[in-house]
Symmetry: C2
Subunit: 583 residues, 2 copies
DNA sequence: TGGATTTTCACCTACGTGAGAAGA
DNA sequence: GCTCTTCTCACGTAGGTGAAAATC
């Protein structure tokens, strides 16, 4: 069992930075090609936080942090996050998920959706998502498999995507599936829509962040947790490489129904693939996805011990439609739609094939166990061999960890405070209409803070940027307050990275998340915690023991104890979430 | 100049009612056919208001009212409201606007949209819309004209429609067109979607309400103003009667493009109508709607003296799309789309024909000048003659008011406080996704108030109902808080009127608005204020002098001074908004 | 019978999709 | 050739529309 923690991070590294707020310059318009006249020249944090952070006093900062947290509710929370359509993700991951990136932006499929529970119903949360590089390799698809093809290209500007309902109460988030399906991927480095920019032929890992804050402005001072679902890892492509992936997309994406085999003339490629469809060598077809094998069912006895919302997409389709009106394709589906499967039921449906794949994945990741500096190690040393994407012919077992069957993907959670300086990420707002209520009213203050570059964080990425633009997907923000927060320059369109604007809110958040590429390090060194046996009463959902969020624990990567209960349990609540400091 | 005022309303009539809050029972679900488990058994007003209203103390109530108003901002506002696509509305009104109502619900066309200015940028507002009967007549379409055909059928349950962005800041509302296009009309008395229920072959008048409140719960104690645009009056039909209306719809509604004459075979009816199209006897064709006649241009010199947002639909299409994603038809249009015309420019485009029509309209209305009780007068006495819809053949001039050319429609504004009891209206929420922020958090209180029927208001409508259901168009509310506010019974679907549930928020608001059928009375007795000459500097937008909202002025119907500046000006700011008490 | 209402239908638009051709 | 990217396209779905037939 290997745990990694950054909790030894000296407070000076966190608090030594100057007050991170800088002027917000420019205006944002949700009208493509046009900007409103609204323009903020300066902004300041909510009263009470300003001076404390300005002087960089740790104690005052701590008080402020507590105040920010307690301003909403005193109750504790214990967030539990499910990945929706987990089995579908796993199907894709077995074949090596590919996501198309285009100039005009392409959605992810499967869509990244989670269901949440364990939130404080009354407290406000901001939910975010970003996508970070899984490694620093470039890949190629050769001989029907993905292989390392050199060192990664320079990183694209990072963009952070805030769920459009943010901020909302815990009750709201728990009431329905939280969907990030409107996030779009692009390879257009100068994208002006606010889409997430990725490098083609590179591997990426989506991440999900929960921030306890009732105001975007409070992000920097708020507790946040990060959840990583390894099965959502993917390689960005401009055109599909693996026919199996193509077929899985066609079979499952409602928007690609036109390419399904309906008897009447289909497209050419479709016919070629028909006989060698993934279905033929996968564990189930579209129609019987939910049939369990005898082996799978052996120990599906673990009761659900806590009130956890695990609604299926079907069940939540209409409530989802509230915030996602344009995706009727995904919500009005026939019975064959795999989205019908809820995460809780799908866990037990893992086939041996998928289990094998996961082991492969874990194995590969462990090859990089000792790499803690990202760009300092030449990936070529490990290159020219196949990647962790499973192939039918070959597997590497270089791990020292015990090999076990029925290991399921174990989501990771990272818990820490927002309390740092700027970095190069961009805050990205959901493109759906949303309304922040009056939470943005505090942003009207014209008092400007100092703009200073934060000290490089412990992760030594060396990529701190003094200012950063806040990107918002076009047509994102309906409230003028929100427009002002996510300041954009007052010219005719969105500015390409790296325009040196600073936005108060985003900066600290993003820096902190960037700093969390501590995860990225972990991922490369020891991505998955080893399976551990736990009692039968294990909870089928991933839960975590609440962490002490005092000053000493600002930055902790919590590796919850993964459970191997014959492919049934993600996580056990409170079971061995011991922190082992390392590094 | 005729002004009507209800300001003599004794305070006892307003404040003598007991505390209007009652228990909220039931749960609301945005999933059609399903209800969430959420359920509120009781609710109470925000702390501070409770006792004052409970004892019915006028002074305390006044203090509370002020407190509610000042809680947000001290700044005054001076709301100015434009009807968007006003010229289009007038085109329809000339022919006698018809709105199709179907069982499954039909949108209005033209869509009801307004642009706002003069709001306090920082204050929060709730914007609402409802549709009330114009008179108590039933109509029939005979010999190419609408004629009275008897007394009105029993009224349908009233439903109030809250704009989905509510509550939002004045800045938000002023930043773009406020659209109510998602409101749907139905004739299905037991409608469960929350659509507005109307009687076919009856005449209706949409109304727009601005409530200064940052919380739905504060509605009852907040100032509100009502705006009426006579050109939006219409007759509800199950099938179009007037071919001209049909043609106008086809020509202008993007969803009906399939019926336009594009050269290739059109539908049958279309061909019949082609030669006798409205265009042939209307002032302009689709393509040259914006060409002014020489007469029209004579005095279009009035400058726009205030910063008023009067963006066209084209200009605001994308920001609108933020909250109205499913209406791309209306926002992505070719140049011929009449929506391109902004209200400010369209005012000067009235033809003599349309002016004549409006005079006809005013004339007819004045026939009922002395009617103040709604159902006590037999409409048959005036029936069997043509209605005020203009026909080519006939006009009645029974008015004592001076006849003038170039009279434009004068919007009315009614300003008063929410401070009364229950009635039979239903609060109706916009079906688009929206998020109330934390404004609903105060609704979690379980403390119940007393439930009492309000005393009949001065308008003597005699239709007070002790409880009312809060209707929400299905798939409306995404936040669980909002669901709780708009309590619905915990059974499988929406309950048909008149389910006796009481909702704290809606009741007082709706009662107050119902009480405002004072307007309805006015409408029947003297619907339009007479045109008045004003100086050249008149503002092309309708503005109103800010009214004293002290206790003495709770209920005032303000008839702003209409302006006749050669068909250019709606209203002049501060010009002669003298109140003349009458009745 | 005749007017009013309901039902069904084709049309149109928007948009996400993979195929395939063309380009680099 | 090869690999990768860009562009255009038809397909499918949703949903608003008036026409016309069917029903009341």
């Amino acid at each position: 069992m290997t745990y990694h923690s950054l909790s030894d991070l000296p407070m000076s590294a966190v608090l030594g930075q100057q007050y991170p707020f800088g002027p917000v310059v420019g205006a944002f318009s949700c009208v493509p090609g046009k900007l409103t006249e609204d323009c903020i020249v300066g902004s300041s944090p909510p009263s009470g936080f300003h001076s404390a952070f300005r002087v960089g006093n740790a104690k005052a900062a701590h008080l402020m942090t507590r105040r920010a947290r307690e301003a909403e509710t005193d109750a504790e929370d214990d967030p539990v996050v499910h990945l929706e359509a987990k089995d579908l993700w796993e199907q894709f991951h077995e074949c090596g998920t590919e996501m198309v990136i285009t100039k005009s932006g392409r959605r992810m499929f499967p869509p990244f959706k989670v269901s949440c529970s364990g939130f404080d119903k009354r407290a406000s949360y901001i939910l975010l998502m970003d996508i970070v590089a899984s490694d620093d390799c470039r890949y190629k698809f050769h001989s029907s498999r993905w292989m390392v093809a050199g060192k990664a290209d320079p990183e694209m500007p990072k963009r952070m995507y805030i769920h459009p309902d943010s901020p909302a109460t815990g009750e709201h988030w728990m009431s329905k599936t939280v969907s990030f399906h409107k996030l779009k991927l692009t390879n257009n480095m100068s994208d002006k829509h606010g889409f997430t920019i990725l490098n083609s032929m590179h591997k990426y890992q989506p991440r999900f962040h929960v921030v306890r804050a009732n105001d975007i402005l409070k992000l920097p001072y708020s507790t946040f947790r990060t959840y990583v679902f390894p099965e959502t890892e993917f390689i960005a492509v401009t055109a599909y490489q693996n026919d199996k992936i193509t077929q899985l997309k066609i079979d499952n994406n409602p928007f690609a129904k036109g390419f399904r085999d309906t008897g009447n003339g289909r497209r050419e490629k479709r016919k070629q693939l028909f006989l060698k469809s993934v279905r033929s060598n996968d564990h189930s077809s579209d129609k019987d996805n939910h049939v369990l094998t005898a082996a799978d069912q052996t120990s599906s006895t673990s009761p659900q011990t806590r009130p956890v919302v695990t609604s299926t997409i079907k069940e939540t389709s209409d409530s989802e439609a509230d915030s996602d009106e344009d995706d009727k394709h995904l919500t009005v589906e026939d019975g064959a739609d795999p989205f019908e499967v809820s995460t809780t039921t799908s866990i037990s449906q893992l086939s041996n094939a998928s289990t094998k794949a996961k082991n492969d994945f874990c194995t590969q990741q462990s090859q990089f166990e000792s790499n803690s500096e990202r760009h300092d190690e030449n990936p070529q040393s490990k290159a020219s061999e196949e990647t962790q994407w499973p192939s039918d012919e070959r597997r590497d077992f270089q791990t020292s960890q015990p090999q076990q069957n029925h290991v399921v993907f174990t989501p990771e959670r990272i818990e820490q405070h927002f309390l740092t300086s700027l970095n190069s990420n961009n805050l990205l707002i959901h493109p759906t209409p949303f309304y922040f209520g009056r939470n943005f009213s505090s942003l009207m203050s014209k008092e400007g803070g100092t703009l200073d570059t934060g000290r490089p964080s412990l992760s030594s990425q060396g990529r701190n940027v003094s200012g950063l633009p806040i990107y918002v997907q076009q047509s994102s923000l309906s409230s003028p307050q929100a427009r002002k927060v996510f300041g954009l320059p007052p010219c005719g369109s969105f500015l390409p990275y790296p325009y040196m604007t600073t936005a108060a809110v985003a900066s600290s958040l993003v820096q902190r998340l960037h700093f969390m590429n501590a995860w990225g390090h972990r991922s490369r060194s020891n991505p998955y915690s080893p399976p551990v046996k736990v009692p039968n009463s294990a909870n089928p959902t991933a839960t975590y023991r609440k962490h002490d969020l005092s000053l000493e624990g600002y930055t902790k990567i919590m590796l919850p104890t993964p459970v191997e209960e014959v492919s049934k349990v993600h996580m056990t609540p409170g079971a061995g979430s011991t922190d082992v400091k390392s590094q």
